[in-house]
Structure formats: C-alpha cells, structure tokens
C-alpha cells in the first residue's frame, strides 16, 4: 500500500500549483483552470483519506465537489463571456470597476 501521506503531499503540491496559477496569471480562463486544479487536489484528499475506512462516503463527497465545480465553471465561464462582451478582453486587470 502506498502511504496516504504521499497522496496528501501530492495533493498539497497540486493545490499549491493551483494557488500559484490563480494568483499569478492574468488570463481569467487560466485562473479558472487553476481553481479546477485546486478542487481536484481537494478531491484527492477526500478519496485518499477515505481509502481504508469510508471509501463509499468519500466517493460520494468527492462527487458533490465535482458537481459544485461543474456549477462554478458554468457560471464562471458565463461571466467571462459577459465581461468579454463589455471589455473586449479576458485579462483580469482590465476589469477594475471595483476601484474605490
């Protein structure tokens, strides 16, 4: 058996990459992809942690995460489309309407 800690370490790395992508990239589409990476890392923790004792419930929870991710992508991409229509751009820095 591979120790669970390995999976957790891998999950942390994937999550970190997602964080880095989200924080560093300016392209909103790529930022969304980074968010997907983070959600995947979380799922990995669910499945790995539940491997020995709660496999079925772990899978069910991961399923919920996937559903939420799907919803998030649908709304997020719709937002990207709407913003693109307004600004002709998908670069996050071009949208600064919240500036005080």
């Amino acid at each position: 058996m591979v120790p669970q800690a390995w999976y957790f370490l891998l999950s942390a790395l994937l999550f970190g990459l997602g964080v880095a992508g989200f924080a560093a990239r300016r392209n909103t589409l790529v930022m969304f992809m980074s968010v997907e990476l983070m959600l995947n890392a979380a799922n990995l923790v669910f499945i790995a942690g539940a491997r020995d004792y709660l496999p079925a419930r772990g899978s069910a929870c991961a399923l919920f995460v996937i559903a939420v991710a799907a919803a998030e992508v649908a709304v997020g991409l719709a937002l990207v489309l709407a913003i693109f229509r307004l600004k002709k751009s998908v670069v996050a820095d071009d949208v600064r309407e919240l500036r005080a």
Binding site: F22, A23, A92, D93, V95, R96, L98, R99, A100
Partner: protein, 636 residues
C-alpha cells in the same frame, strides 16, 4: 355621576380636537357657537354634579370615579398606582361651577369679540383645550392629574397669549409666561415627590385622612407647592409674567389671567390645606408673601397707562389677598374671594375689552375719556365691577375682602400682634385699590373725551353685552348671596369648609368691633375712591402733568419697581452670558472634536480606499495571505 364626570372632561377635549382638526373649514361664528354650546353644557353638568353632592350627607360629600388605571409602578412601599379619574367634592365642584359658569359667559363674549379675527377657530380650539385642562386640574383624582391640568393650562395660556404670534410682543409674552411658570412647576414637582415619599400615595381621596392625621410635615414640603402656586397665581417674586400676558386677546385675559387659571394656585393650597396647616411656619410665609404681593401690585397699578395692565396688576393684588387669607388659615374666605373676584374681574376685563373693541384696539387710558356718553351700558357694567373691586358695599368684593381683613384683625386682637401688620397692609392695599380703580374708571369714562376724533365708539354687539349684563348681576349679588360674615350668613362656608383644614388660630371679634371695622373699611374705600375720582375727574392736563413730573417714588411706580429690569440684570443676562459661553464651547471644542473625528476617519478611509484598487489579483493575494495566517494559527 361617573357619566357626568366623564362628560365634563370629554366634552371640552372632544370639542378642542374637532375645532383644532376641522375648524379651518368652519366659517363665521360657527366655531364660537359650537364652543359656547360645549361650555354651557359643561356648566349644566357642573350644576348636576353640585346638586348630586348637595343631596349627600355632609360627611360623605364626595364622589370618586376611576376610569382606567393610568400607571402602576414599583412594588411594596415604593408602589405608585395612579388612576385616571375624578374626585368630586365641594371644593372641586365649586371651582368647576365658576370655571364653567364664567367660562361660558366668556365663550359667549368671544363669539362677537373674535368675529373679525383671522383664525378664530384656532382661538376657540385653544379655549376648549384650556377648559379641559382646567377641569382636569380641578377634578383630577390625584396630584399627578392635577399637575397634568396645571401644565395643560400653562400650555393653553402660552398658546393664547401668543395667539397673535405675528406680533413680536405677544410671542415674547407667551414665552415669558411659560418660562416663569416652569420655575413654579419645579416647586410643585418637588412637593409632589416629597408627598409621595411621606404618604405613599398621591390620590386626593386617599391623602385626605393621611394629611389630617399628620401632626407635622416639613415646612419646605408645603413651600414647594407654594412656589408652584406663586408661579401660577402670579405672586412675588414670580408675578412678572401676568402683566405681560395681557398681550393676549382680552377675553383670554378675563378667562385665564383673571378668573380661572390664576386661581389654580389658591386651589392647590386649599386642596392641600391640612398639609399647610401641619407645616409649621409655612403658612406664615404664605400670608406674608400674599400681603406683600397685594401691596406691591397695588402700588404699581397706581400709575399704569394701559387699561389692561391696571387690571392685571389689580389681579395680582387680589390674588395676594387670597393668599393672605390662606396664610391666615381662613381657607374658606380665600375660596370666597376667588369666586367674587372671578365675577367682578371677568366683568372688568370684558368691559375693558368692549372699550378696546369700540376704540379699535386703543388701550391707553390717556387716549380715552368721556366714554360714558358713547358706551353707557358698558360704563354701567364696569362701574359695578369697579365698585366690587374697590370693596364698596354692597358689591361682591366688599364681603369677601372684608372677611379676610376681619380674620387678620381678629388674630391680631387674639394676641398675634404681627397680624395687625398684615391687616394694615391689607387695608392700605384696599385704599390703593379703590384709588387706582377710580382713576381707571374716571380716565376711561369720565371727564372730557381725548379719543381720536376719527373713531366713532359704539356699543358692543349682543353676545358681548349679554355676558356683561350677567356678570354685572353676579358682581352685585355674588357677594351677599354667598356669605356675610357679620350676619353669620355663610352658605358658601357651610358648603366648602368641611373639606378644608380648620384655621390654626381661630379667632373671633366682638360683633361691635366687627361692624366698626367694616364701617372703617367702607369709609376708607369710599374716601380713596372719591380722591381718585376727583384728581382725575376734572381737567386732564394737571393730572397728567402730575404723573409725568412726579417725584422719585412715582417714577419707580411707573417703572413697575423695575422688577423686569432686576430680573434681566440678575438672571437673564448672566444666563445669556452662560449660554453664549456654552455656545462658544460647543462651537470650538465639541464641534471641533466631532469635526476632527470626521476628518480623522476620512483620512483613514483614504488610506483604506487605496487598497481597493479593483485589481482581482490583489484581492486574491490578500485572501491567500489571510488563509496562510489562519493556517499558521491553526497549526500552533
């Protein structure tokens, strides 16, 4: 009886509300007629209450009616449970009778007097509200209700003095009345708190046995009420508002500032008379203040030019007599004088109103004269009132005033020597009263006319004339009808004395001495009247010259002893200085503090605002930083 009492309060209030809300749409005389109808019905109800009480045995002559529980505070010893209700007894019913009776006549008079005034509906609405407040004051089941009415009449007085609020002087006078009365109210409140602490109740019915049983009470407690009474009844040193209150319409002066409201102070003292009797030297203070006020105001009245001011100072003076009577323990005599005074002073004010009406607003005595030819009916009525005021037999004022002086002399005769001084002050005041009344009447009606020749004085219209005639009759028979002490004919005393405290120093004069004093008083009054009439009766020029070039005392009289100026120097100016100091403090320090706080937060906000640059990444970055910090803390 409950229904009668409830209606007695509900009718004026309802009428005030109706006139206040819809009066603007009622035209012509309608508001006045409605208000008069209400007042007359109230008088009818008062008569019903009177007859009911008279049918009861003497020791059980009271009706207590509670309508609903008003407040119920505290528990145990500190419980204060107050009902909204009425307390009918000979005292309150007597007051109710003359309030509604004289009130009705003045309402009637007002219909004609206010006919051409703008906003008469407002006037009648206030008048109804006043009647309601006055009845609450008199009939209220407990002291708090009395205080409610007390404040209510103060408010109405303020509103009616300032009825012509466009005139600066009226608005000012209204404010002055209000503020001076506040000082008195503090005394009333203190007295009320103290009473509650002492007796644990404020209901008139419940307090009665407690007050009777109390051997002594702190004199300051009674004096608290007396301060309140001084404010409301214009005694030294709080009388300054009453002469200024004459800026209101004349019927208001008659109703509020002569016949009814100003007697509220007497009512309070009578209502709490056992308390005053038990309060050691408090009664002496009342007597001396009353006598001093009577003399002081009588002196000022000698040289006033405004006819209404003469009457105002005479009111203050007569109220002084009433307090003198209270102070001597002759509470019944005080009530007697209140009633006769209500008749003849209302008559005099309404008569002066008719004169002013006829002269299109002229109030200066020096610009009148010879009016008896133009206004014979008014002159006749006013002469009766003036005789009554001057205390000339057999008019109303003679009997009540003589009774008070008789009590003072009797107490002196019984060994309280200082009472001779009070008697002397009273007699001197009586002489002054006769003199200035004669002066006023002569300047107004006698001699040659000094009236502006463009004016054509005419008699007052019917409603005014009727009110005058009725009051004239009352001023003639009101005294002898209610009591003649020397003949032991005292129906009013038999009726009202059982609910009042007995005099602490009862004294009786031998009948011969009593008659002799009466004759002396009568002679003094007639003599003073004759002198006054003679001085001012002939050619006007020397009299005026005498008044204008008078020596120092007369100047002081003309300046009303400079009381207003003294108040201004001692109280108003320092207060104003203090207020300006506070204003500066407020502007510089307090405002500065708040403005500084505002500026500081704006500065901080500018700093924070810079963080809100709208760049998503920056938000995300800081969110991550926050997450990292939280994780670190979680790992600790």
């Amino acid at each position: 009886m409950n229904l009668v009492a409830a209606l007695l309060l509900a009718l004026p209030l309802a009428m005030a509300a109706v006139l206040g809300l819809f009066g603007r749409r009622l035209h012509g005389k309608l508001p006045g007629v409605l208000a008069f109808g209400m007042a007359a019905s109230c008088f009818g109800l008062a008569v019903a209450a009177f007859l009911h009480l008279r049918g009861l045995p003497e020791h059980a002559r009271f009706v207590e009616a509670s309508f609903w529980r008003w407040m119920d505070l505290g528990v145990g010893d500190s419980r204060l449970a107050l009902d909204v209700g009425v307390y009918l007894d000979p005292l309150s019913v007597t007051w109710t009778l003359f309030i509604t009776g004289v009130g009705s006549l003045i309402f009637l008079y007002s219909i004609a007097y206010m006919e051409h005034e703008e906003g008469a509906w407002r006037y009648f609405s206030y008048l109804c509200l006043f009647l309601f407040s006055m009845l609450i004051l008199v009939l209220g089941e407990n002291l708090v209700l009395t205080f409610l009415g007390w404040e209510g009449v103060g408010l109405c007085s303020y509103l009616l003095i300032g009825f012509d609020y466009g005139k600066e002087i009226a608005a000012r006078a209204g404010r002055k009345a209000f503020i001076v009365n506040r000082i008195g109210d503090v005394g009333f409140l203190i007295g009320m708190f103290w009473t509650w602490k002492l007796f644990g109740t404020l209901g008139h019915g419940e307090m009665k046995p407690l007050m009777a049983a109390a051997a002594t009470v702190p004199p300051l407690l009674a004096l608290g009420y007396f301060v309140g009474a001084c404010g409301k009844s214009a005694q030294l040193p709080l009388f300054v508002w009453l002469p200024d209150a004459m800026a209101g319409p004349t019927p208001v002066s008659a109703l509020i500032h002569a016949a009814t409201m100003v007697t509220a102070g007497i009512y309070l003292v009578l209502r709490l008379s056992p308390l005053f009797v038990a309060a050691d030297w408090a009664l002496d203070v009342v007597a001396w203040v009353g006598a001093a006020t009577a003399l002081f105001a009588g002196l000022i009245a000698l040289r006033q030019r405004d006819i209404k001011r003469v009457l105002a100072y005479s009111t203050v003076s007569q109220l002084g007599y009433m307090f003198l009577a209270c102070g001597l323990g002759a509470f019944g005599a005080a009530a007697f004088h209140v009633i006769t005074h209500a008749f003849f002073k209302a008559l005099l004010f309404l008569g002066s109103g008719a004169v002013i009406h006829a002269l299109h607003g002229e109030q200066d005595l020096w610009k009148m004269g010879g009016l008896k030819h133009h206004l014979p009916k008014t002159a006749r009525a006013m002469t009766v009132g003036a005789f009554a005021l001057a205390g000339i037999f057999p008019f109303a004022g003679f009997f009540s005033k003589d009774e008070i002086l008789g009590v003072a002399f009797a107490q002196g005769y019984a060994g309280h020597t200082s009472r001779y001084v009070l008697w002397g002050m009273g007699v001197l005041t009586a002489a002054l009263t006769a003199f200035y009344t004669a002066r006023m009447m002569t300047l107004c009606f006698g001699g040659t006319s000094r009236v502006d020749p463009h004016l054509h004085p005419h008699e007052a219209p019917a409603p005014m004339a009727i009110a005058l005639q009725v009051l004239m009759v009352l001023s003639i028979v009101g005294g002898v009808g209610l009591g003649f002490e020397a003949l032991h004919w005292m129906p009013l005393h038999r009726w009202i004395d059982p609910v009042l405290a007995a005099a602490p120093h009862p004294a009786h004069l031998p009948a011969a001495l009593n008659w002799g004093l009466m004759a002396l008083a009568m002679m003094i009054a007639v003599l003073a009247w004759r002198i006054g009439a003679k001085w001012y009766g002939g050619d006007f020029a020397p009299a005026r010259q005498a008044e204008l070039t008078a020596p120092r005392l007369a100047k002081v009289l003309l300046g009303r002893f400079y009381v207003d100026e003294i108040y201004a120097a001692l109280i108003v100016r320092p207060l104003r200085f203090l207020a300006e100091l506070c204003l500066e403090f407020d502007r510089r320090v307090v405002d500065g503090l708040f403005r500084g706080a505002g500026q500081l937060s704006a500065l901080l906000a500018t700093g924070v605002r810079l963080a809100q640059n709208g760049v998503v990444h920056v938000y995300a970055f800081w969110m991550l930083v926050g997450a990292v910090i939280l994780l670190t803390l979680a790992l600790k």
